[in-house]
Subunit: 435 residues, 2 copies
């Protein structure tokens, strides 16, 4: 523990006994049922659709963002502000930046939490009725989850860019690209996302900050069907080129797969975490036994590596829903599968093994399908148990990119964070109250 | 060493001091020059061509096989016999199996070593003038190397199958498929093979027995150009489907890349190994300072895992040129990069790390581009030094599939072998003589 604490500054050292307090030592049955539910999920990419068609109740003035709900526009961080403004221009709701900003400040649009609509936001990315979404269906129970298309690197809306080239790329992505992708996905009858993630964990991905293998495998799964669409070959080639050069394309699919796996998680009394998310101001978790309630606290610091010439003072506070993948055993929980990421995030290969190993202390199960080569193919730790976090004070880790705090400057680094203890003590109190 | 010896039965335990005998402690300069030559190679897939057009001197009755030269047809092992007969039928040289076998027995065709033609054979695969070959050019020095297309799994010519479906698949592969692939490769101006291998080593491949990541990355590199060829979309889709489902497609490219990297290796006095190969009877090595001479001994046993219901008694003796990849630091030398292969080959993840680590004892350098995540991104051991093998008696390891000894039954397992000491003592004597 001391060694780890030196390396990961945000590790809470263990100073108290690890026994679960008697008051929280509830019946294990609900947790076991939820573990089975998560492990037997069968999320497939089944379609691409307009948000207004896929998300019931999404109003014309609603703007869905990542993380727990915000109190309003005044709370929006730089990348989120940039993304909202870009989206309003992109979708023809506002004619320019000034008009879009005025709309936001007037309260004419409403920021709402995407997760209340079975949708997810990556970084500052937002969803309005005309946003095109990837549709993931958990064929184990029929539940669906949605996420926007990944735009690739460079100046991206999700980092708050609303530059003309950003919006032009999105116009193509949400137009011609989405047409081709949707046609191909429907033609193959869906793509098995956990089958891809299983393989990707043996190919250096951890399912969150490294998506290179998964994105390649997705391309292989779809390329023949993309060619068999009736679209012209120049467009088909451009679509394949985009997929072939975007090694983060799979990220929103992993997120939606996790969300759909957690959709059966409202099993009374379970103490397992069903979501971890950030809105740029607050970090929040949801817990199975407490339904849709968020337990929040201020966003934590990120320990990471910054790209030249940036440093921590340039960083935006954490925002994004992608940490839901940590709840199913991916990301930081499986980082021992991604040694290449150790360098990317400033640590060593042994650190990745130590971090994943530590996460077994606070989880209820070992994933039967997501296995970690470097640990002799042990199943990834999954099912974060609020009781174990509170008892051990070992904080769940998460991987994340780091965006610049100014809208549109993009990713400036990557690293690890830890979900603060406060979220778990609040949840534990609530679970107590409900008993 | 004792632990390793228990695990890898073919490890030679160290019983003598590891000092290099004074008589072999030659000037290090030629080895250093050769290491640089190998490390700075830039092999690109540049074309697909007919063997008769690419290989000068290849006669109409020549049949090129893997490994050192054979004394004649009577020495050909089962898979090689099957592949020769299949090729003679496929290319219209013989009308059926009986006629093909009669041709071989009559001495009307001549078995020759592919490596004498800058070409390579995978398993029992053979090359005649009408065989279509992948063309790899080392852009560092312009040298070229050639290998046949990988047919995928199932009943394959390289395992000696000459069944109608095997020949039908090859007819398509060497016809329409080769047309499309060649067109796409020329259109992109070549594909950088070491750039792919570098990434693949961070994605669970070791560059020999696991080619899943490299094959996916090649697909991504070529898919847009494949679409932009003027071939009809049904054919293009079938080509992409073949590439997307053949996770060994990259193997002959890795082999030809290694061969082209070794092409500048005829530097006088170097004690480094430039080829390891098997012809089903004999194992052979070539050494830089001894030019094209093979140092041979009987093929070694393979320690591996057999697929149900097979066992060692069903195995063909080792055949194939693919072990040239071990000479540039791939395969068994980089197996710590491929933990998934540990299970496949019957060992543990720690065994893969131990085996790669052991190989540093007998190599002259650490590859500047091929780095191994599990070893903290240390460069793969490369440049097998005859002097170090003789002094330490640590035998170079190699990965290999295992074919059934009966023609056409295919792959029945996979494992590790060790190149026998005798090859190295012979080479050491020859190097002595030349001094």
């Amino acid at each position: 523990m001391r060694v780890l604490a030196a390396k990961f500054e945000l590790v809470w050292t263990v100073t108290e006994p690890r026994e679960i307090p008697p008051s929280l030592a509830t019946d294990a049955a609900p947790n076991a049922a939820l573990l089975t539910e998560i492990a037997t999920a069968r999320p497939f990419l089944v379609d691409v659709c307009r948000a207004g068609d896929g998300l019931p109740g999404l109003g014309p003035t609603d703007i869905l963002h990542a993380g727990p709900p915000l109190a309003g526009w005044h709370e929006a961080c730089g990348p989120l502000q940039g993304a909202v403004i870009g989206t309003l221009i992109l979708k023809g709701i506002a004619k320019d930046i000034a008009a879009a900003a005025a709309l936001c400040e007037s309260g004419a649009v409403t920021l709402r939490s995407a997760q209340d609509f079975a949708a997810l936001g990556t970084f500052g990315n937002v969803i309005v009725r005309d946003t095109m979404l990837l549709v993931v269906e958990n064929r184990h129970n029929g539940s669906r989850a949605y996420a926007a298309l990944n735009e690739g690197r460079g100046r991206a809306l999700r980092y708050g860019s609303n530059a003309p080239e950003t919006l032009a790329r999105l116009t193509w992505l949400e137009g011609r690209f989405a047409d081709v992708l949707g046609t191909a996905v429907r033609a193959v009858g869906g793509v098995d996302l956990f089958a891809i993630l299983e393989q990707a964990l043996h190919m250096g991905d951890e399912g969150h900050s490294r998506q290179k293998a998964a994105s390649s495998l997705l391309l292989a799964a779809l390329a023949p069907a993309v060619v068999e669409t009736s679209f012209d070959s120049a467009l088909v080639s451009k679509v394949l080129q985009f997929l072939a050069t975007n090694d983060f394309f799979f990220l929103p699919l992993a997120m939606a797969a996790a969300k759909s796996a957690m959709a059966g998680a409202a099993l009374g009394g379970s103490t397992l975490v069903t979501a971890i998310a950030f809105n740029g101001v607050r970090c929040g978790i949801r817990v199975s036994g407490c339904g849709d309630r968020w337990f929040t606290c201020p966003v934590p610091r990120i320990t990471g590596r910054y790209f030249e010439p940036y440093s921590e003072v340039d960083a935006s506070p954490v925002i994004g829903d992608s940490e839901i993948v940590e709840t199913i055993g991916l990301g930081a929980f499986a980082v021992a599968s991604a040694p290449a990421l150790a360098r990317y995030a400033g640590g060593t290969v042994n650190d990745t093994i130590a971090l994943t190993t530590l996460m077994y202390e606070i989880t209820a199960g070992e994933h039967p399908r997501f296995t970690i080569p470097a640990l002799g193919f042990r199943g990834a730790p999954f099912g974060i148990d609020v009781r174990k976090v509170v008892a051990s004070k070992i904080l769940p880790a998460f991987n994340t990119g780091i965006a610049h705090h100014m809208p549109g400057l993009g990713q400036i680094g990557a690293g690890y964070g830890r979900v603060p203890l406060s979220c778990f003590t609040q949840a534990a109190e609530e679970l107590e109250t409900e008993k």
